[in-house]
């Protein structure tokens, strides 16, 4: 399905990625660290957009999936000294299982109830982490012995490569026939059913894919940060940030999620000299974009391309 805007978008994306890949040669380790975190957030936001933008389901608990992935990997490494890569794989797998268990009953609910279920799931995970402090490190957090790399540049490249590959897969999936069916199910479930599509099956699959990438990103991020804590991978505020990033970047664009995440984190950091004002300014910008450009950064660009 060739479409007019797609090839320029592809070339622009590739050019941006190539430029981004050269950053470690002339940018400070501090900025690299910032972008590394932003790239993991980008994957969170892109996975979330697959559910919201395509399946039409609002998952208020992206951090449930992220947190399960992060803590599974962290606990295996910290308590059982499991090999780093096995821990990451186990984290992604655990997120998929947890996502499946949550979504299977929740997707049978209608409207806002699905969203509420996902919200409650985060609270349950949060209490679990606090209550089983021996296992999870509780409120202090879990210290992770292994790291991906001690080199800021290598960490940066891993995150960038991971984001690029995840983005390519998620974007490709969204544009594929499966993505079209998902989009039809999200937009008009009754009609999609009458066209012969099992909506629950497709939405469940989307949830699982979203869970896989969220869990994988959560697990990798833990090994970059060297710690797993409620405040960084489970808290509702983190989830809200993921959601804002995806909406800011552009609903139903997948790649917009990465843009939004980088904007949120980089802008927050640039405004740090303003102290407490930083969060206020970034939130206000986000609010204005959502109110007046509900299609987000990339959505606005794409719909202009559609009209011409």
């Amino acid at each position: 399905m060739p479409s007019r805007f797609r090839s320029p978008l592809l070339w622009i994306t590739l050019a941006v990625l190539v430029i981004a890949a050269t950053l470690p040669w002339y940018v400070s380790a501090y900025i690299l660290g910032l972008l590394t975190v932003a790239y993991y957030f980008g994957v969170f936001a892109m996975s979330w957009d697959l559910l919201f933008g395509f399946a039409g389901e609002v998952n208020f608990g992206p951090t449930f999936l992220i947190g399960v992935g992060a803590y599974t990997a962290g606990i295996l490494n910290s308590h059982y000294s499991v090999e780093l890569y096995l821990c990451v794989a186990a984290g992604a797998l655990a997120a998929v299982v947890a996502g499946f268990v949550l979504a299977l009953p929740a997707l049978r609910l209608r409207g806002p109830y699905f969203g509420l279920t996902t919200l409650v799931a985060v609270l349950i995970l949060q209490s679990f982490v606090v209550v089983f402090a021996d296992l999870t490190g509780g409120e202090i957090g879990l210290t992770i012995p292994d790291v991906l790399s001690i080199n800021a540049g290598v960490n940066y490249w891993i995150a960038l490569g991971f984001m690029a590959v995840s983005g390519a897969i998620l974007f490709g999936l969204a544009q594929s026939p499966v993505g079209l069916i998902l989009q039809a199910s999200g937009q008009d479930p009754v009609q999609a059913g009458a066209l012969g599509f099992n909506i629950i099956k497709h939405k469940l699959a989307a949830f699982i894919v979203s869970a896989f990438f969220s869990g994988l990103a959560g697990a990798l991020m833990v090994f970059y940060m060297g710690t797993a804590s409620v405040g960084t991978v489970v808290d509702l505020a983190v989830g809200v940030q993921v959601i804002v990033a995806a909406v800011l970047g552009g609903r139903r664009t997948v790649l917009g999620g990465a843009l939004g995440a980088i904007f949120l984190i980089v802008a927050g950091e640039f405004l740090r000299p303003t102290g407490e004002l930083a969060t206020f300014i970034v939130s206000s910008v986000a609010l204005l974009v959502i109110l007046f450009f509900p299609n987000g950064f990339l959505g606005a660009v794409l719909s202009r391309g559609t009209r011409s």
Binding site: M1, S3, G172, L173, S176, P177, V178, L180, I181, Q183, A184, Q187, D188, V190, Q191, G193, A194, L195, G196, F197, N198, I199, K201, H202, A205, R252, L302, S303, T306
Partner: protein
């Protein structure tokens, strides 16, 4: 009509029943449909025809009965399984994928229900093109749905429904919103489905609009079959005529000159309203005098509800609405209601989980305690059953009681102008009589002004001083009810 429906039926519906809580929308409905036949399922709004169609398609789960397709019972299967057996449904409203082209939208309908099909089969494009050509979408293949005219969006719906060559095609109100020229094009398309040997089931409000198209018609009322037969037979049927036109029409109009106000209380001047691309009202003008009872009659989809919602401030419009010399543009629905124009909507919109009394108190919420008490006492005299049901939850009432409550809640606001939208919808004749008496009492004993929208002419005419006929978004007739019974009623069915 050269049909071959004498053959063994491809679809046989037996004893189909669908109940929503206490309300039985479809009762023991049976019909059979053969390949190469167009079958019309008709009935006034609320008669259960759409529910019957949705039950066949599996969109709602039938409470009882069988849906036999080539001998296999499909009742209770989900829609996607029924679709894959060879069913296609044309929806009246739909939301196509706006970022995809027309061609891609048709391709979606051709995709298999598989999670593993990450790459589209190249032959799909060719098949989608063929289907587009069939329904006349070829010139707009690469355009996106938001840029298409309304008729092309309907074509897209047809294309999606027939994409996988279904043996049974269900069509919900095939001609809603189309111009006369487009109606004939769509009729031809639907005939071509029949000629290819498909079985076609149409749902529509009246026999007239589909009579040229259908081989047989089943007329429904209150969830049950009245009669099945050829269109002309059904139109002659006594019960059908009574359902649509009623028996003898009685009128008791007060002449327009008897109303004292020189400038009418409410003047609607050249109103036009659009829903996206579909025109819902076209240059409509009406006026109502103080204390006058005016009926707007028209079949479903004619624009009655749109007109009422426009007056109530819910919709943007071109033209003017003037009340007592004041333009009403810019008022919010709440301001309109508070100023004394109260609508009792077709859908009733009761607060289902509140008691009857709470619903009424909410209506009279702006009155002081003594005034509310006296208004409530007056209302209980008008609808005595509501007094008995005071403590009951609104959603547990019968349909007729719910309608009385809806009217009662509107009256608690002490309206100057009461707008009643289809109060008879889906109600049994005995209830209609009670509503009729209540309206007559309002007319005789109160200074209220009433604007009544109805497709049931028998109910509307006795209470009307003047009648407007709304058809395809326009006022096509205006006059007193006596003249209506003689002139316009003939063409109405």
């Amino acid at each position: 009509m050269t049909s071959t429906w004498q053959a063994t039926p491809i679809l046989e519906v037996r004893g189909l029943t669908k109940a929503f809580g206490g309300l039985t929308a479809v009762k023991n409905l049976s019909l059979s449909l053969s390949a190469g036949e167009i079958f019309g399922l008709i009935g006034p709004n609320g008669s259960g025809k759409s529910t019957a169609m949705k039950s066949i398609m599996g969109i709602v789960r039938p409470t009882a009965g069988q849906v036999l397709f080539q001998g296999e019972d499909l009742a209770g299967l989900p829609a996607h399984k029924i679709a894959r057996r060879g069913f296609g449904m044309v929806f009246q409203h739909s939301r196509p994928l706006n970022r995809q082209t027309v061609l891609e939208n048709i391709m979606v309908a051709l995709l298999p229900d598989s999670l593993l099909k990450v790459f589209a089969d190249p032959s799909l494009t060719r098949r989608a093109r063929e289907i587009a050509q069939r329904v006349g979408l070829e010139p707009v293949l690469d355009r996106r749905p938001p840029t298409l005219p309304f008729a092309d969006l309907r074509r897209l719906e047809l294309a999606k429904a027939i994409a996988r060559h279904p043996k049974v095609v269900l069509v919900d109100e095939p001609f809603a919103g189309l111009t006369l020229a487009e109606v004939s094009v769509f009729s031809e398309l639907i005939r071509s489905f029949r000629d290819e040997g498909r079985a076609v089931l149409l749902v529509d409000h009246n026999v007239k609009s589909v009579s040229a198209l259908v081989d047989r018609v089943l007329a429904m009322y209150l969830g049950e079959e009245i009669v099945t037969g050829r269109a002309d037979e059904v139109m002659r049927d006594e019960t059908v005529r009574r359902v649509y036109l009623g028996g003898a029409i009685e009128t008791a109009a007060r002449p327009e000159t008897s109303f004292k106000d020189k400038v009418p209380l409410l003047q609607v001047e050249n109103i036009s309203v659009h829903y996206g691309k579909a025109q819902a009202l076209n240059n409509v003008s009406i006026h109502i005098h103080q204390r006058e009872f005016v009926s707007i009659v028209g079949l479903n989809g004619a624009g009655k509800t749109t007109l009422f919602n426009t007056i109530s401030g819910f919709l943007p419009y071109a033209g003017e609405i003037v009340r007592g010399g004041q333009r009403m543009r810019g008022l919010t629905p709440a301001q309109v209601a508070r100023s004394g124009i109260v609508q009792c909507p077709e859908t009733r919109e009761l607060f289902g989980e509140m008691s009857v009394r709470e619903n009424l108190d909410l209506g009279g919420q702006h009155l002081d305690d003594t005034e509310r008490e006296s208004q409530l006492a007056w209302l209980f005299d008008l609808f005595p059953i509501l007094r008995e049901r005071q403590a009951q939850m609104a959603q547990t009432l019968s349909g007729g009681e719910q309608q009385m409550l809806a009217i009662g809640r509107a009256l608690m606001m002490k309206p100057e102008i009461l707008i009643l939208d289809e109060p008879t919808l889906g109600l049994a004749p005995v209830i209609l009589e009670q509503l009729s008496k209540a309206l007559e009492k309002l007319r005789q004993t109160t200074p209220i002004t009433v604007l009544l929208g109805e497709q049931n002419v028998t109910f509307a005419l006795p209470h009307a001083d003047r009648v407007y006929v709304l058809e395809h978004a326009r006022i096509v007739w205006e006059g007193d009810p006596g003249r209506f019974a003689r002139e316009a009623g003939v063409d109405y069915l």
